[in-house]
């Protein structure tokens, strides 16, 4: 890549080379679609993307993991339900729960896999309007203390693409109340709830804040001209957040 645009106080190339030491794994399952996009987002943010294969039995040398979007195993049984049993997922679950608290980001199908893995609570069902929907979606960052949101301001509104068929986040009232009380609702839909998600929730985290999942696609808003019109790079902060945390210990 040439002329990688960076955001925040990171100036190329010094900061770029400083961050490139951070290795972020991007998992590919059969049916994963946005793996190359997630890897590109990692590179554009200045990090090093490491391809991970679902059947691998070791996580290898990675400092964080992105589980990208797509239709793993065709979503045939239930979105994320089969991918959850991939050998690599056991390693990711262990590392996410360990003291090292491996940062894990699940996007769309990745979010569905994280709930199926019980790293995150709740579940996704079919959109309330029953159609696949692709649109530029406004989100509010409700919690900027997670591993993946620290480069944003609390309450900041960003626009990133949303595209899914099974995006309606549901959980029982008790769980939803607990998520709210513990500040684990990380993203909320603003202006328009595109799928009927409870309490407009677009994404959540675990209690430690290292595991984050959301339905919209920050990796599709990292490069001017190839994302939402006029606001194309709002998603880059996800990736710089984790890189800065890994490199700078922020």
């Amino acid at each position: 890549m040439t002329e990688t645009p960076l955001i925040g106080d990171l100036a190329a190339p010094a900061a770029g080379s400083a961050l490139s030491g951070a290795r972020i794994g991007v998992v590919t399952f059969p049916g994963t679609l946005d793996d190359r996009d997630a890897a590109r987002a990692v590179r554009l943010a200045g990090g090093t993307a490491v391809p991970l294969w679902h059947a691998a039995t070791e996580l290898g040398d990675v400092d964080a993991v992105v589980i990208p979007g797509g239709f793993s195993y065709g979503d045939y049984l239930r979105a994320g339900a089969i991918a959850r049993f991939a050998p690599l997922m056991d390693k990711i679950i262990d590392a996410a729960k360990s003291d090292a608290k491996l940062p894990v980001l699940g996007i769309c199908n990745g979010f569905q896999i994280l709930t199926e893995s019980h790293l995150l609570p709740g579940s996704m069902i079919k959109n309330d309007h029953l159609k696949f929907l692709c649109r530029d979606q406004v989100l509010r960052i409700e919690n900027n203390t997670t591993a993946w949101t620290s480069d944003y301001a609390a309450g900041q509104e960003i626009t990133v693409p949303l595209k899914n068929q099974d995006g309606q986040f549901i959980a029982d009232e008790k769980t939803l109340d607990a998520l709210e009380a513990e500040g684990r609702v990380v993203f909320r839909y603003v202006g328009f709830n595109p799928n009927g998600s409870r309490r407009d929730i677009a994404g959540i985290s675990n209690a430690a804040g290292n595991v984050v999942g959301l339905m919209p696609h920050p990796e599709h808003a990292v490069e001017a001209g190839y994302g939402p019109a006029h606001t194309g790079t709002d998603g880059l902060g996800f990736f710089t957040s984790v890189l800065n945390k890994l490199v700078g210990g922020k």
Binding site: M1, T2, P30, G31, L33, D34, R36, D37, R40, G70, F71, Y73, G74, D75, Y76, H129, K131, F132, L133, C134, R135, P161, K163, Q165, H217, E219, H220, V222, E223, G225, Y226, G227, A229, H230
Partner: protein
Amino acid sequence: MTEVTQKFNIDTVEHAAQTPEQELPWAELGLKDTEFEEIVKLLGRRPTAAELAMYSVMWSEHCSYKSSKVHLRQFGEKVTEKMKEHLLVGIGENAGVVDIGDGWAVTFKVESHNHPSFVEPYQGAATGVGGIVRDIISMGARPVAVMDPLRFGAIDHPDTARLVHGIVSGIGGYGNSLGLPNIGGEVVFDSVYQGNPLVNALAVGVLRHEDIRLANASGVGNKVVLFGARTGGDGIGGASVLASESFDATKPSKRPAVQVGDPFAEKVLIECCLELFKASVVEGIQDLGAAGISCATSELASNGDGGMHVELTKVLLRDPSLTPGEILMSESQERMMAVVTPENVAAFEAIMDKWAVEYSWLGEVTDTGRLVIEWDGEKIVDVDPRTVAHEGPVYNRPYNRPEWLDSIQADSFTGSVQDAGRPQTPEELAAAVVELISSPNMASKDWVTNQYDRYVQGNTALAFPDDAGVVRVDEETGLGVSISTDANGRYSYLDPYEGARLALAEAYRNVATSGAKPLAVTDCLNFGSPEDPEVMWQFAESVRGLADGCQELGVPVTGGNVSLYNQTGGVAIHPTPVVGVLGVFDDVARRTPSGWAEDGQAIYLLGTTRDELGGSEWANLRGHLGGKPPVADLAAEKALGEILVNASRDGMIDAAHDLSEGGLAAALVEASLRFNTGARIGLDELCERDGIDLFTALFSESQARALVAVPRSEEIRFTDMCTARGFAHLRIGVVDAASEALDVQGRFSLPLAQLREANDAVLPKYFD
């Protein structure tokens, strides 16, 4: 079933030779008596049941192009050496391949899946996407985008919602699951498509020059392998009894002839094929589409060394009760056939195992010149593969100009009964603009396109509703391509020769409007029954028009598809030649979006406006279809294209939108709504210069026109360029962000909110 199975099983070549009198169901399989006689002559005996199955599908209209071939030759004959400059692979392969520079190539093609989509909308449309994507993979390319030109019956017909819901969700369900951005297409409503919706699917792929793969089986002793999904009973006779006949209410449902898609299997197949190509372990490859194994074996063999030996019991089946004939005809999806050298067998199997793709070794390449297929060691097919794949029947069908055409062409819209009360006052004109943009064809198609993923792969630079879809090919340099598909059935109905040239002109103009240099053409020719001489005349004229037009514009046809028999009872669809044009950008960062966003920029109208309302969207709204379509002035299109491409490359324009259906009125509204930015427009000077009334200025569909937004700093340079090229250009207004309205000065002002509401509400009203 049991009885049939036994009959097929025992019908060996030997048995066929001994039982010349045995009755065969050739008519039910769609063969004509003369064709059956020809098969008997070729073989010197009656065909076996399996051979009959193969010939019946391969000699179908869909696979053999028997009615269209004599006309399609013009695409080859009218191509000059200069036009072939960028062509790496031309017509005849799975898809054409075009050189776009820096060692990169692009392959693209549009195909129809009309008949299956009417019978079973979701699966028909889904497998249309799947089929065209496999054509692209077969060339060695990574698919990077799809587009879908769709035509439905009247928006308020009770059956239209069934088709729209099924077809749109089928395209989305399949394409979205493959990770292919859907970057454009068309959605048209017209009652002529009521019983015959058109579902055309275009796919584009990218590859390095050295990665081009062709469908041939060379190298005696090389192994033939079938991989991907298992073979089932779906889609049997899809190409023959479904795609090559008209619909008729008296016949039984043809649903079993529609294939069932599995997009997950196809996604895995894409990745697994790309890994095979990268590892260079396949010699030749062919996708399985229409006519399934019959097509793949006969085409691979006849394109290669001419012989192949296959053991059919090795085919992995979903349904073990399938007969050999059914296995040969099945159009089960997500299958590929490849030719592999013995040394590469292990490497091939390792890649299959990695992706958990099933495969079976069926046989090997021979030098016998015969395609021999055995069933458990007994010979059931022994044919010259060329007679199956390439030397099928060719018909020079009679055609004649319809007698009704003269009176239709004489019935111009201007001055007609339907033109009485033409809007003239400011209030009437404002109401007419709102009526136009809230008509089914001009309404926002977001309801459809929002069901498609336009972002996946991260290279989409423009997508619907921009004039063309644009994707980046090379992330380092920004090299990329632009594609648009267009057709206007009403224009072609009024004048098929001119209609084809108009479809080409619009697609060419759209690509140039996005800023790309047009390079190549693909086409999907949708027509009624070739057995009707008037339909055949429409077809012949369309092909002649398209071939002539391509020659005038200097862009070659690289491949495409013909869909005939789009008629129910005796009524054919309008002739609908869908033309796809592909263009190239050195850097897609220079692409031009279709709407303006910068306050104060000057708005220019390029081109000349005449009284050309024949076949127009406005005439359609008034229930009139007559007169002549607009004139296709391809020299003007070429000049306009050069202006748009140069202006984009040199940063002289920030927005451009072509004028087509709905004329200037539609273009002004669309360019304003694109980024929700208003404009102040004055049209008096235009009316005076072109000698037209305000209504004609707004609603005429004269060709070779475009709107552009020019930064103040570039105005002199831009107008100098237009002047130097002798191209009509007129400053008609200015971008006015504060106004939040489309203001035609001295006449009417329409708030953008009102236009948006009118434009957005139509499809949800009918389909939600």
